[in-house]
Amino acid sequence: MLQTLVNGLIAGSLLAVPAIGFSAMFSVLAYPNFAIGALASVGAYAGWLVNSQWGWPLPAAFAAAFLIAGMVAALAERVAIRPLSQAGALMMAIASLAIGLILENLLRFGFGNDLRNFDLPIARDLRIGELRIGPQQIDNVVIALVTMILLWLFLRRTWLGRSMRAVADNPDLARLKGVDPERVALIAVLIGGGLCGVGGTLIGLDTSIEPLTGPRLVLSVFAAAVLGGLGSIPGAVLGAMLIGLVEELTVLELAPTYRTASGFLVILLVLTFRPSGLLGARRA
């Protein structure tokens, strides 16, 4: 039972990174970006190339994952999605779905469907009483936490971060104050996409990488973001932790294959009874 709890929290902290990315993009851009799964895969492959092909250490792999996934997301936003803004949020969401399909298949074209693994030293699990934790899992949690703290500092302490929150809150008012919403939107996509890339790399380190590594994650990410309240960043963290726990419990009590289906159930329940989520603003 304790093991399940720990596993759930570990899974949750990994999930929190892309969930924050998704929620941050939603709050600034006002449409759900369905390319997050493919972006996570893009980041995972970038990290894998740097780490196991070039032999660079993991921090460099994470930086590459963040930058590449973020730039791909920003490019897609600029070239393909933003021009549809007149047609409404739904059109942009559908376009992001097409972007996701294209990215996933570009990866498949370049790397095939084979499973890829990071170059990791083999290490024994740590044992604390009955508990077993892999050292890499601890590293992953630390990396996830550091990412979240950096993002929090960025949003609270920098001018750019504050203008991002301002645009999310009220774009018109932000514009009056001299904030350029276009630029802020692009930076939000860069960061959001980058976080998805880091999330994909974390999952890749935990398991292995293939083009569907990211897309498989999508339902859990949505569930975390909806449970926490779409657009709320603390909500995404809390939601991800809870979804991590729920999924581990599902594995324990039901069947491992229903891990993601429990996420869907959570989405249905939350939207039916408390659509604003746990920490979301009261406007749905």
Partner: protein, 299 residues
Amino acid sequence: MLNYLGFILVLGGIYALLAQSLMLSWGVTGMVNLGLAGFFALGAYASAMLTKWGGAPVPVGLLAAIVAGGVAGLVVTISTLRLRDDYLALVTLGFAETIRLVAANEVWLTGGSDGISGIPSPFPRDLGAGFNGLYLVLVSVLALLALAALNRLISSPWGRALRAIREDQTVAAVAGKPVTRIKAEAFGIAAAIAGLAGALYGHYTSYIAPDMFEPLITIYVFLAVTAGGNARPLGALVGAYGLIVFVEGTRFAAALAPGISAVQAASLREIAVGLALLLLLRFKPAGLFPERSQKAPIR
């Protein structure tokens, strides 16, 4: 060759039904269904299980698929009817994934990832080309019926209410339209049509498995409906046949490309589908048959 042509046309008819479904919910009402593949799968499984294991005649199976699709449509929409439309997109996406998981894992119910084979068909299969011909007539008639029915529905007062809701829910509500009920009805009908398409698919191929109902199918239908015109039944029909030609065309084109593996060829085809959808959304969002503005009837 004749058999291949028959197969293409039957598939086109099945996609035409899926396209009518998406046209009604997305194009006319503004409710995005990203889980179309899930309703398609649900219909296929409902009818296959009932006819293969329950021994029911095929028409009963088709009816059951319609009911199953419609009921699932209502269940999925109920949680999001009062919310912004992008929540429905999230829920339907999750729905399709969950259906696929259940189909792949509940072996006692669905045969698991082996799928269901030997699904009965309404006509004897040993007719060969005759079977293809008869099935083509059946699918085409149903697709045309759906087209005619939706044409009538859309030009009815109910259809006008749908468009009013798409343009502005608040205004529609102020005008006294029961917005939530009408939205649920539209989505339910649309999902029922997708269920029927699924059943027809299963009875035609005689074999279904969870892998067949991947999210790519949903994107295919978005491509078809966007190309044809997303608020016109005729547009959806033409778009669906156009889609099949396009998809089969990419198959031949990929076979011609030198020096690439099968996996690479498949990924190139999917990239072509994604690019085509992006380009249409950007440069020809109204499609081949744009929506006509309807004048109010003179009293």
